[in-house]
Amino acid sequence: MAVSEGQHSFEALAARRSGAASARTDLARFAAVGASGYVVNLAVFVLLERSLGRPHALCATGAFVAAVVNNYVWNRLWTFQRRPGRLSRQVPSFVGVSLLGLLVNLAVLHLLIALGFPPLLGQAVGVLAAMPVTFLGSRLWSFPAPLERAPVRGRVDTAVYRAETRLAAAGERLARYTWVIRWWAFSRVLVLGSALVVQALAWPRASWYPPVLEHPLALLGAWDGRWYRMVAEQGYFVVPQHQSDTAFFPLFPIALRLLGALGLSLTTGGLILANLGFLVGLIALYELARTWVPEQDARRAVVYAALFPAGFVFSMVYPEGIVLALVALAGVFAARGRWITAGIFAALATLARPEGVFLVLPLAAIAVGQWRTLDERGRMWASWGALAAPTALIALCFYEYRAVQDALAFSHAQLAWGRWTSADGVVRAFTELEHASELHREWLYRDAAFCAVYLACLALALRAGVPKSWVAAGALIVLLPLSSGSFTSDARFGLLALPVYCGLAFAARRRWLDVSLRVAGAAMLAASSATILLHWP
């Protein structure tokens, strides 16, 4: 049936008005529910603090959980009643949105207090600042509209509706990654849960642990976490003939300092950064792996990365989580020809971990592959992007020379840990492995076993069709540390060799093998998380 211009305009106007009115109603109801959540939060906090006498942090956590439950129930039953959905999808996303809102709230609160505002006013403004984030997140992600809206043309009536239109695409993209978020959440529950359990049991060294209620997850701040916190607090400093913090790359401590400025402790900030970085890393790994292998293999690669037994490191106060994200994002953007973004991510990855510098290989290969299709300007940016990682390393050398008068301080510092790079380093590594039991270094067997697994997976990745440049970068990440004379920590280093996960996915195409790997991976991840205190990763 033909539709006249007048009829079309009328329908568009009606749709616009209906959409705007719906958004206004939702916003009003959402605000009312938020207010009720605020009351519930305060009430539960007072109840827990006064009647049970629990520590403030625990009371605040309990109050937050109660408020989130209250808000979710009312939003599902009332605010977004026209937008039904499965609980298994809505609950995790709603909790995620609530946590994001809490972060915004805390950030604004601390900023205003730092500027001299009274705390109550700061909290009031913080709550208001978080509201648009939580409202749009809830409306677009947790409670999305069941049917796609008809396109609306012309000027949009309200600010909320306009923002909604802009963010709709982002919301849809986010919804596509819900399965990634589920695997991330599941694997992190295993790691964090194991860490909490061993801390509660004070195993294996009771004297090491602080009280679990005062410092939960202290285990995840152990080992190198102390060094990263030291860099964040004091900067670089070489203590002659002593272990020095110059061995630890600077980006992660810089980020810890920034979060510290928002009022978070360095350990808390590190845990948030590492775990959220890992989530972004998994999503980026999925996008990158899709460019290498078939969709199902890419999905399995992400699942194996989430459940990888050494992957508890992604939840510690270590930079591996964000480096995974930066490396994968550099690859994704380079593959899409967005070289400025790719170069920035590559540089940041190199400032966070030395493994980042190996991005020069795949990025150069991608640039060469795209060369014929690029114009002059594109070629310039592609060359720049490929050189970004080594450029960042050179900048770090300059900085260390100025700060501690040694351009290679990050490498020389390894000497205090008994590692130094030499031509016979690999021989020394195997000699150490041979005498591991006599030297009481049995944990070397773990690292050597992971090294072997990584190499096998890289070979499989090559067969699966992963580009050679990425496999070569992965091999360098796994093998180059051996030139410093030890297998120590190779299990951790290899986590950033992204093709490893695709190799595993290629090997486990059979259903029974896939299920076995998932079950074994989850069990080993929980076990290795529980044994963090026995030996450094």
């Binding site: 860099v231 004091q234 400093f237 810089i254 400032l351 002059e376």
Partner: protein, 205 residues
Amino acid sequence: MIVRVVGRVVGVAALTVALGAAAYGLLEVGVTHASADERLVARTLSVLQSTRGSGAVITLDGRRLVATCRARHIGNATVSLDDGTELHLWRTHVSRVATSSERELLVREPADLVSAEANLAGSHDLYSRELTATLLGGHVDVQATRLGSRSVYALRLGDGSPLVQLFVERASLLPVAARYVSSTSSGTSDLVAATRLHAGGPSGC
């Protein structure tokens, strides 16, 4: 063609330098810098670790003692006082292995007497270990002062309780004196000139 290629190379070089400068700037702004005092302590540590002491002339609670020290193994030394007392240093731990007859006559010996004697005896290895702990513990305290006619830095060892100070020459950073003050003991020492770690002669500490 050549102009285009040269233009591209120059462009890439300029952009790369800009990226390097941005990365350097990020580090300059983002990473905390060590203080001048911390840097001075680090330089002093280098000096202490490449030299050794051989003893000191101690004035402690009104008594005058001459201390000599010799290394036994790494981190392990013996301090002999001219009153017959012998101390065993193991890293930053000290114990008495022989007591003088004069000491046995004391009615009440200060609880930290051994610690005071060890800190004043001129062991560079002990000073270096204490200074390292001070540095890592964030307790650095440096004062520019004068010792007689000499310009020196007074470096505090430990967290200030008891007060242990090492005086080093401003120019060479070589240790020249030490001071120990607690609620029960107080004393100073003039350190015997230092020798290079790998130089010949009697083994110091």
